[in-house]
Symmetry: C2
Subunit: 428 residues, 2 copies
């Protein structure tokens, strides 16, 4: 990688294509690497991050200075900033990934044909994953670790503001995997902040990249989704709903609504809209709204919600499809489960939606009919997370309709091939 960084005369495109070819070659080796070798690589990566902590923090201080000079706000600086604890968390994350089961080589299905052919569907890595991220330098380690575990080569494109930090981390990681006998190009960071590199990645580098994962704000995800000429694992937004059904227990509804909205308001699985069934409204609406307001949440409601509590301001049509990512919620009274499902279909983002009810039949209807990556019955929308699903770390949450939906963990970073074992069979 450094050889390329030292050739500033080279134009970006040939460099990117060269990275793509190296990644593809590395992917061929990684696909055949043993679980032990990959786990040794992950542990070496963790140790290297710890050993590099001083250098990483130094680079991060430079990145932070530059970001402050550009007038970046506190939230941005917090995403960018590392400290000892955050570096340690990256290392721990890599060790946790080493503990996960290796998906590669798993036999997903196996059957025997009448002619005696034994057919196995076996998990193999996807190949080369392109990760385009913004200010969080920890994505460098998290994404590289998940890719390595699943036998994929990673091409990492760091945001310009975290570039120095990411570069120190990535250089250490790719050297660490070499020590573990794995190819250096298993982990490559695009060694330039030139934005044209993103465009080349979205073009697939001549078929060298198999899938793109954007990690960052809505603008980045929207650009990637609009311009990528290859598959993307992403969600543009999480407009998540909690529907409090007619047969909802009020205490449970309060607990789930509060947690779904207020546990953390800035994550994609946070609820943005509360739908209350008209039959439940007389008993449930006022207490739910009061609870939210007392918890510090702004409530924007339809006329009925406003009548239930004078502190509710009027919701406009803009509120229903809105992802606040803040302590704000839109509240609407709906006429039964059909209207609730129709509202979610119209305004939701197919991310995560929940129903609260003691009526098993209504719950099953909601689970079947709401077309979102994750649908929950009597549980908080904030469970939308690979770790909470027991899948270990995730590279993101996908709301597309192809390959993987919901949390994308190491298993979702694989595809399969067929191994067919015969004894001389020919096709008639």
């Amino acid at each position: 990688m450094s050889a390329i960084a030292d050739r500033p005369e080279a134009s970006i495109e040939p460099m990117m294509l060269y990275m793509g070819r190296r990644a593809r070659e590395a992917a061929r080796e990684l696909a055949l690497a043993s679980s032990d070798a990959k786990n040794a690589g992950l542990i070496a990566m963790a140790a290297r991050i710890e050993a590099d902590a001083g250098k990483v923090l130094e680079a991060n201080a430079q990145d932070l200075d530059a970001a402050r000079a550009k007038g970046r706000d506190a939230a941005f600086l917090d995403r960018l900033a590392l400290n000892g604890a955050r570096v340690a968390a990256m290392a721990k994350g890599l060790r946790d990934i080493a503990e996960l089961a290796d998906p590669v080589g798993q036999v997903i299905a196996r059957w025997t044909r009448p002619n005696g052919l034994e057919i196995s569907r076996v998990r193999v890595p996807i190949g080369v994953i392109g990760i385009i991220y913004e200010s969080r330098p920890n994505v460098t380690a998290d994404a590289a670790g998940l890719c390595l575990k699943s036998g994929n080569a990673a091409i990492l494109r760091s945001g310009s503001e975290s570039f120095l930090t990411s570069l120190v981390i990535a250089n250490g990681l790719s050297e660490a995997v070499v020590d573990a006998g794995l190819p250096e190009a298993a982990i490559q960071l695009v060694p330039t902040v030139d934005r044209s590199a993103v465009g080349f990645m979205l073009g697939g580098l001549d078929g060298a990249i198999d899938v793109i994962v954007p990690r960052g704000g809505k603008d980045l995800v929207a650009r990637v989704q609009a311009e990528a000429r290859l598959p993307v694992f992403a969600h543009l937004e999480g407009v998540c709903h909690v529907y409090v059904h007619d047969k909802a227990d009020l205490a449970m509804a309060k607990k789930i609504v509060l947690n779904s909205k207020m546990r953390r308001t800035g994550i994609c699985g946070a609820a943005e809209t509360l739908l209350v069934d008209r039959k439940a409204a007389p008993t449930h609406l006022a207490p739910l709204v009061e609870m939210l307001i007392e918890a510090g949440c702004e409530v924007r409601g339809d006329p009925e919600t406003q009548r239930a509590d004078s502190r509710v301001r009027a919701a406009t049509e803009d509120d229903w499809p809105k992802e606040y990512l803040d302590a704000i919620i839109a509240v609407k009274v709906v006429d039964g489960i059909d209207e609730a499902i129709a509202h979610i279909a119209r305004f939701g983002s197919q991310h995560t939606d929940a129903i609260v009810t003691d009526d098993k039949e209504a719950a099953e209807q909601f689970l079947a009919r709401v077309d979102s990556a994750i649908v929950l019955h009597n549980a908080s929308t904030q469970f939308a997370d690979g770790g909470e699903f027991g899948m270990g770390a995730e590279i993101g949450i996908a709301t597309g309709r192809f390959h993987a939906r919901g949390p994308v963990g190491v298993e979702q970073l694989t595809i399969y091939k067929y191994a067919v074992r015969g004894s001389g069979q020919t096709r008639p």
Copy 2:
């Protein structure tokens, strides 16, 4: 559909976008349709094709006349031509699809978290499938049937030469599904031969199409792969290899090579290259070449193969990556399994490759290391087929590295969502 066809003043793009929206609406209904309803639809479609046989053959006669007037060759006319038997085969194909298990609603995985959450990964349809095909009108029925069974709406784009035939078939099919209580827009044929329609489909119709399936020649597939801004199920070509290993039984090798190459030479799973291990060459090479030549196959070989049989003409570098789709084979002597695997990695198309050997260890190495959608041990490459795999009909074979690899049947036309059942859990 006819309403649109009657509005020639409308430009293509709004019409295509309208079809996309109708397909998406139909997909929402289809996703919730019962297996019984879908099977009733398939049986109604079969009956309708039989009832329409006269009209279909009449339209086909017109298409054939036009194709002949354009000077199309015999192979083209054969792909385009229908007769009573071919119409009956379409109807039978639809009834066979009705017999398949419904993939939608299948629980792929289910587990319980320590906090009591029950997580299920449930199959759901992908949504809307765009099928772009050329001269074979039977694709209309086959693709529509596979999409309906898997709960997907189909947007069919017929080749201009088979347009009239496809239109009569498709109109009948979409009316038939209405009789079975399913949405008419479950099956839509693009009602124009204007080629710009293909470009709009490759753009995804504003997100209305989830995946494109090209069915036709290499030019079509290459264009779709190059221009599509959404996922594609396809294989550009099948440069399939048979590697006769050192420990191959000669009789079995002869049988498998002959079948792989000569059973049908025009299909994607036909072998195009024979690799013979140097250690097996003294005993196996001449008999294999002789057998192929006697079966009417032209053999193009490296110098060693030419020495083994004087009828072998010299292979050039162009032969190794060549998909002949004809009674021609390239033959090369390789130094062991490593060179065989390297040759396949360099010149193959990641479609289907086979090893013939009695050495179990070599077989397992080949199956693990050859990175193709289908790898076989001691079996003909011509088994590369959804029907032969026991998956029922297939919409095609995919050699990409995303979502599905190998035969794409009804199961591969689905994705999943998570249904999470709780009892009031909130995230700490």
